[in-house]
């Protein structure tokens, strides 16, 4: 994978921009040329190319890439080209579109980023798409809109209010017993409390009622809303466990789900990839397939 490093001689941004323009023109797209350029520049260089491209052709390079590239690997090039905040905005936007829709990706980004990162994603969404992220959320709005709009307090365990945790564990228990899974109180607790506070509430739930909250939410295993709610709880409390499962499923799938693999690896590379990898190796009792390692190498080299 050494070819993915930045070469000794890097052309001027204007030259790269022109080459990219050529790649988009004519019959079919010269995909190899696009990859040759973007995969061999670092983040600062890619930003300069984007700026120059916009000045020269009056169009955002990312929009052009979006229009021209379709396959999984090519979509990965777009992900690599973006900085983390724009990458998330791009992933959410794709997830609100008909053929690439995914409530899971929206939930994943809302629940696993820091409060400030999530806000910066909303800000990037304005700049890239001229509208707000929350306008584009289509399904399960009752859960997803407060999740993406959240700006959770990021206090640590010492700031947890234990009597509040106990009271809210009781509220959750009552609502679950009545099968009121989408009750406003459940949504309020899950979408507004700090992660530390929510953790304390769920721990108390387990101690007091002898069951994990997420297990009690399995009452109806096929209910899509319940699946999404369980995944949100997992992302908020044990994100590495959630990502490990996404990776495991992507790898074990016939033909490998490269898109899921690329998404998780690019977005988590600098956050908790080491922990996710440890878990994946431990749980699947085998080495991670070569493909994942390759993707990781790409990430770290770019």
């Amino acid at each position: 994978m050494a070819t993915l490093q930045v070469p000794a001689y890097v052309p001027a941004p204007s030259e790269d921009a022109e080459q990219l323009r050529h790649a988009f023109e004519g019959w079919g797209t010269n995909e190899q040329l696009i990859i040759d350029i973007l995969a061999h520049r670092n983040a600062a260089q890619r930003n300069l190319i984007r700026k120059t491209y916009h000045e020269a052709y009056g169009k955002d390079l990312l929009r052009s890439l979006d229009e021209e590239l379709t396959s999984d690997f090519e979509r990965a090039v777009v992900l690599f080209t973006l900085d983390p905040v724009e990458r998330d905005a791009h992933l959410v936007n794709q997830s609100t579109k008909r053929f690439t829709s995914s409530n899971w990706v929206i939930m994943e980004i809302a629940c696993t980023r820091s409060s400030l990162q999530l806000f910066n994603v909303r800000k990037a969404y304005h700049a890239l798409y001229n509208k707000s992220l929350e306008e584009d959320v289509g399904d399960y709005r009752k859960l997803l809109v407060p999740l993406v709009s959240a700006f959770r307090y990021e206090g640590d365990e010492q700031e947890v209010n234990m009597s509040l945790a106990k009271a809210e564990a009781k509220i959750l228990r009552d609502k679950i017993s009545d099968k009121e899974y989408s009750d406003e109180e459940v949504i309020r607790i899950v979408t507004t409390r700090s992660k530390a506070q929510l953790n304390a509430t769920l721990n108390h739930y387990n101690t007091a009622f002898g069951n994990f909250f997420n297990k009690d939410l399995k009452a109806d295993a096929d209910d899509e809303f319940l699946k999404l709610l369980r995944a949100a709880i997992k992302c908020l409390t044990v994100p590495e466990k959630y990502f490990e499962k996404v990776l495991r499923q992507a790898i074990n799938k016939v033909g490998t789900d490269e898109w899921a693999l690329t998404r998780v690896v690019t977005t988590r590379a600098e956050v908790d990839m080491v922990r996710i990898k440890e878990r994946t190796v431990r749980l699947s009792r085998k080495q991670l397939p070569e493909i994942l390692l390759e993707t990781m190498r790409k990430c770290f080299l770019l």
Copy 2:
């Protein structure tokens, strides 16, 4: 009101902080001393005093003021001492407390600030109160939580999507006809659309159905939720009209509502006070009472 100007000799911040500490100590609070200091320093000087106070006594000056001052005028001193973002966070916090609760103030801040200012208020809320603003919203959460969590796109009239405006005017009309005032679709349109887009939708509503949306929301004049929703629409589309009414009511009240007066004047001084003032003079057909002018003078001098 010339006495409210910054004096030629300004004591060192440490000296001011010490004086303030003295004012809080002992039996009763020396309120005049507090006002003498804080009302005669500019914003940068007040910030330095706060910093020094915190370093010397391990406590936020604003918390001390909050504990020591109670009357309307004294609460105004706190408002003057804060920068705009912290002032809003403070107002929201007060509005979630039992004896000073006000859904109106929460709505007003959520609907009349710029998207970034509103986000900065949420950020300041974390820093000041160690929790998120949306955790503290108690009543009418279905409307108020999405309002305070909103990060609206701030496109201008040229970016308005007219077919969307028409479609959503129709949705609003249908829901209102069915008396479903708090329907999710109504909340979605009011809480997520850009102000320009919402304006276009409401204009089309008026043209197509021959009535103002807000007039159709008057079906039940005593319903508190409907009152709040109407006020939110007003704040989002014609804020100066909303503030003018608040001022007029505050002035016409027996005994003058100084607190409302101070809130509006301090928070709007640099935004649209001139327009509000013009409207107030025009509509009340008399000069603004001396008290308002005095309060304004305080604002501009500080």
